[in-house]
């Protein structure tokens, strides 16, 4: 039981990383993109392939996962970001499915539907962080979440975040204010993809295997639910959203009713949550965070 709570918290962290990326794209720039599952898969496979086939250290595969995901972010961002609303959603949804199908069929690289097993565990200064002993892994994934949170929150509260919000509010007015709309959209996409790639790396290390079946369209939907539930435009809120959604997903197992409640139950519940939220609290549980004058850890030495 206690172990199960740790498991939920680890999954919360992995999904929170994706939700943080999604929040930048959807909460700030206002783009309805459904790509996180695709970047998540790419990150997972990068870590799996590099560490199993090429014997790389996990700590080197993480930046590669981020880099390769963001490269794909750029690649699909450039053509699709001209689209708006539902058209963008459909195009990006297609991307996720393409990734999964390629992983399923490119046997020589990905070992097809069998996936890649026996991924070496993470070690840090000679200490192995085993997913079987959950505490260590829990701390590790939450450190990643904290770092991502501080970076993205900072980004969103900077002048860049303001520009992204201006694009969400009115693209034409934003471009008439000297903001390069396309470039900023692509940047948001790249950063969102990078953090989802890192989430993928961690997922691969947690399960110690990767299979294409784990990266369905449902993953993207779950991530979107987390953002909407927690509150768009608020990074704390999407982490809370990630926890709630994960908690609901594992609730039947947690209370020992997995025999009674079918797994489809969670999909029904996600749908219900979205509908209820949209009607009664469209801004999410916590709502958008107001931007205020930025705080600094170190004050300037009077040079201004």
């Amino acid at each position: 039981m206690f172990n199960f709570i740790l498991l939920i918290l680890i999954y919360t962290a992995i999904f929170a990383l994706m939700a943080i990326g999604q929040n930048l794209i959807t909460g700030y720039v206002g783009l309805l993109s459904l790509t996180q599952a695709g970047f998540f898969a790419i990150g997972s496979y990068v870590t799996a392939i590099l560490s199993v086939t090429y014997g790389w250290n996990f700590w080197l595969t993480v930046p590669m996962a981020a880099l390769i995901s963001s490269f794909f972010g750029l690649l699909i961002g450039l053509p699709t970001l001209r689209l708006k609303g539902d058209y963008l959603a459909i195009a990006t949804l297609g991307f996720g499915e393409i990734v999964r199908n390629i992983l399923n069929n490119w046997d020589s690289l990905t070992n097809g539907p069998m996936g890649i097993q026996r991924i070496p565990m993470i070690s840090l200064f000679g200490i192995q962080i085993s997913p079987y002993k959950k505490w260590g892994f829990l701390v590790l994934v939450w450190i990643f979440v904290l770092v991502a949170y501080f970076l993205f929150d900072r980004l969103a509260k900077s002048r860049l975040g303001r520009a992204l919000e201006a694009i969400r509010e009115d693209e034409i007015a934003a471009s008439s204010m000297g903001i390069n709309v396309t470039r900023y959209k692509v940047w948001a996409f790249i950063l969102g993809a990078a953090v989802a790639g890192v989430a993928g790396s961690l997922q691969a290390e947690f399960i110690l295997s990767v299979t294409p079946g784990a990266f369905t369209f449902m993953v993207s939907i779950m991530v979107l639910c987390m953002v909407v539930l927690g509150g768009m435009g608020n990074f704390k809120a999407v982490i809370l959203g990630a926890f709630i959604i994960q908690f609901i997903s594992y609730f039947p197992q947690l209370v020992g009713l997995s025999n009674v409640i079918p797994p489809q139950f969670k999909q029904i519940l996600f749908g219900l949550i979205l509908v209820v939220m949209m009607i009664w609290r469209p801004q999410g549980i916590l709502g958008r965070e107001k931007r205020s004058a930025p705080r600094r850890l170190f004050r300037s030495g009077g040079d201004v």
């Binding site: 980004l155 002048r159 900023y184 940047w187 950063l191």
Partner: protein, 259 residues
Amino acid sequence: MMLLETTKLTRAYGGVVAVSQVDFQVREGLITGLIGPNGAGKTTLFNNMTGLDTPTSGKVYFKGADITNRSAHKICRMGIARTFQNIRLFKELSVLENVMVGLHFKTGKSSTTGRVMAAFLSYLKVVDEYELMNESAIKWLEFFQLESLKDELAKNLPYGHQRELEIARALATDPTILFLDEPAAGMNPSETDSLMKTIRRIRDLGITVVLIEHDMKLVMNICDTITVLNYGQNIAQGTPAEIRHNPKVVEAYLGKEET
């Protein structure tokens, strides 16, 4: 040399020619009016000069440089700012932040990569960029006496203030030319009077103003020179007095007298 001019500018949407062979000139330091009946192509001409639309043929020159196919954000950075006929504020941002968006490209790192990195590292950063932006944004709000409303969301402002805020935001980009698309639309006479004073104050800052307007009292009062469009064509230009007595203009607005 004209500060801004179009030569034989044409914009056709399929078979509909919205603007046809228009030569339009803006002289530095003056207030130029652009008038004409509804559907005459005034806004289309504006959009083609500010990069929101590309002409089918013809050229746009700004300070002698060809800016015909440049994108809107580049044209803005060269010093051309504008407002919109139907107000386009960033509704969910505060009044102050709306103006700060106008300052966006003026401050900080010039490349996007640099901006992203600067934001990531800003926990350690020493330069107080925010205070710098805050200061100039407040300055523009004070110009319109909006500073007491700075923390309101833009959508909550009364209509007249929204119009002013849109102008403040455009001015924050530090333009050489300011395009105003029907700034007095929906305003009552006293608001219009104060708008006229504002436009004169903007001109006194050394900014060239071009405006589309239907309110003839305003146009005749403050414009130094007026261009009249009708059915996409430039039918007259001159001082307010000349325009008032131009038979073609009278015909365009009131129709021909039967003989």
